[in-house]
């Protein structure tokens, strides 16, 4: 029996993970659940999955739940609660599906406690890839990717040597604005972004998909997960999202992983790895599939992807700064306080004024994250004025 902790259980990945678990009774037990502030959904999850520990990070939300809940699950709150959920001794695998940089601390704590990580929080590897992968190696802990692209690459690498990788071909749907020119994106609204063609996801990642910032974060995540250089990573636009990514080996052979766009498949694979178990989600049908298409990303219209490559190639604290500036800019856009095209300007401006620390320790990473957010707010203020 796999004993699982889900950090971010009320979000898109968390709820789909619970679907997978519910569909396979006797295979998994949900030992801890943690969410930010959705107390009503967490309460339902507690009733169904009966975890030993449940956490609401937000204290007021936790208070609300504690007042009305009288079952056996222990309800905790705050960052301490989150860390307790991540490190609880009965847990084997921690699914980290928190949004953004907030995932770093509990992920590190879980690795230190010897838990395998099913990683859906890419910002952890973007901000602190070297530290996180180094710690995982020391603790002999597996980092199993949940992102569909990284799960695809990971599946393509089964039975293969990492040293035989020539290139990673990271596929991208191209988002809802694929094919448009920069000037056509001037009046993009939050609603426009949220009409993603293939995947149903949270708001932040949906905006990131539309700007290709998400693909940029995935490039950096891939660099750390698969120990390749940035020049070995090529982004391929593939609007149908059927091929979820590919690996080219040094003999020229390319291995790809395909499927319907459905996060439950990579989530299940991360939870059952190295085994596969039956899943009854919709299957690819090549009789009706007909056509798959490919093209290069339009980096003129979507320059954030190039900023991510710059951040990754430069290294040190710059990827962390890239990520934090992007987060702040996207939240400002979602709050109606920033124009769509200025997301790029904010990130670029913050990156340009950052004094890079080449070999950062964890404190440097936290400092760089904080600095980047404050700097982003300055830039946001300047833009609004």
């Amino acid at each position: 029996m796999q004993h699982i902790a889900i950090l971010g259980s009320t979000g898109s990945i968390g709820t789909q993970a619970l679907e997978v678990i519910a569909a396979n009774p006797g295979t998994f037990s949900v030992t801890t659940l943690a969410a930010y502030h959705n107390d009503s959904l967490l309460e339902k999850q507690i009733e169904y999955f009966k975890p030993e520990i449940a956490v609401l990070v937000d204290k007021r939300a936790a208070d609300r739940l504690i007042r009305r809940y009288s079952g056996p699950t222990i309800i905790l709150t705050g960052e301490e609660g989150l860390l307790a959920a991540a490190t609880y001794n009965k847990v084997n695998t921690v699914l980290t599906s928190l949004v953004g940089f907030a995932g770093l601390k509990p992920t590190l704590a879980a690795i230190k406690a010897g838990k395998n990580i099913a990683l859906a929080n890419k910002e952890t590897l973007v901000a602190a890839g070297e530290l996180v992968t180094q710690l995982a190696k020391e603790q002999n802990v597996k980092i199993l990717p949940v992102d569909s692209e990284h799960s695809a690459i990971f599946q393509c690498l089964q039975g293969e040597s990492i040293k035989n990788i020539q290139r990673i071909l990271l596929t991208a749907s191209g988002g809802p604005f694929r094919g448009l020119k920069r000037e056509e994106l001037e009046h993009v609204t939050v609603e426009d972004c949220l009409r993603h063609p293939n995947w149903s996801m949270g708001k932040k990642i949906t905006v990131d998909s539309s700007t290709l910032a998400n693909k940029g974060l995935e490039v950096i995540e891939a660099r750390w997960l698969f120990d390749v250089t940035y020049s070995q990573i090529e982004v391929v636009v593939h609007p149908e999202s059927i091929i979820h990514s590919m690996v080219e080996f040094l003999d020229g052979s390319v291995i790809a992983q395909l499927g319907k766009p459905d996060m439950r498949v990579p989530i299940q694979y991360a939870l059952t790895y190295p085994e596969r178990i039956v899943a009854n989600y919709p299957r690819l049908d090549f009789k009706t599939l007909s056509t798959l298409t490919f093209s290069s990303p339009d980096v003129i219209t979507f320059p954030i992807l190039q900023l991510a490559f710059t951040a990754g190639n430069t290294g040190g604290t710059l990827p962390c700064v890239f990520n934090a500036a992007n987060e702040e800019a996207v939240y400002a856009f979602l709050a109606g306080k920033l124009r769509y095209l200025d997301i790029f300007s904010v990130i670029q401006s913050v990156m340009e004024s950052h004094k890079i620390i080449s070999i950062p320790d964890l404190n440097d990473i936290y400092d760089a994250d904080l600095w980047s957010r404050m700097q982003a707010k300055e830039v946001l203020k300047a833009i609004r004025e």
Copy 2:
């Protein structure tokens, strides 16, 4: 150092294997070479690769070569020569790229002698799949597929359990007559068949590709190589021949192998397995690739594919009979003695009049092969009269 025997060294697969070997000096040594009757090309191969033994099965061709050759390579002839080349004690791996049923005996001899088999002669598994795979298991010998489709499936299965296979998706270009109706194939000539869109191959296999008999043989080969049932094998028409085949696992995840249509890549993989080494053949470029398409095979126009499934599902001596009848019909067509559409009629008629032996031994297989050829000649005679 890999010590290699190539049976069929002057054919399409044989010459491409020698290209691969020549491109990797120090990795392989060509220990024995065998061909049917092309003494001039074999002589050049002997000069370049300096094998210890070289064989021309045809005695007159061998005599011609022996008269003019004075080097250190030992020249042998006849079936005894072929068997000597296949079993020579210094050889590790035997590449069997003989055409047709003639590949069975030397392949069995090589397996009995403990050699790994790089199998390009699919008829061996079609005619005697159970006996051959059983013997390979007993001798703890690997059968490494060279056919691009089976190499693809084999690559997709690295690091995976055969018990987790849901389906094998065997891709087919559809051949030069894809999209045509049965009545449009009435006046097809040998030349029409030999204009294959993607692969440059020998004559027999090129005709087989155009009738989908080749895909039928591959279906039966896949059943034995990967220990699946026929209901687990689906043929997918994919005219671009970029995806060389796929495996769907029971969780719905599909793994595919892709590449430019170039037999040197699967040949090299079979010779270097489980390792991969650098190959400088043309690579896939997704910037220019643009489109991949898929559809179902047209079994009304190409009914030989269904005959193969019938032969495979029925089992016993019937697949052997299917293969032999097809060989005779194709050679009659190539000799201008049979109309294209009658290839099907010959195979069907021979299969219908066969008395199946359900659990054949090797003698039963040889008898069935011989019976099928004689029966096919009767049918051919009846058609011509």
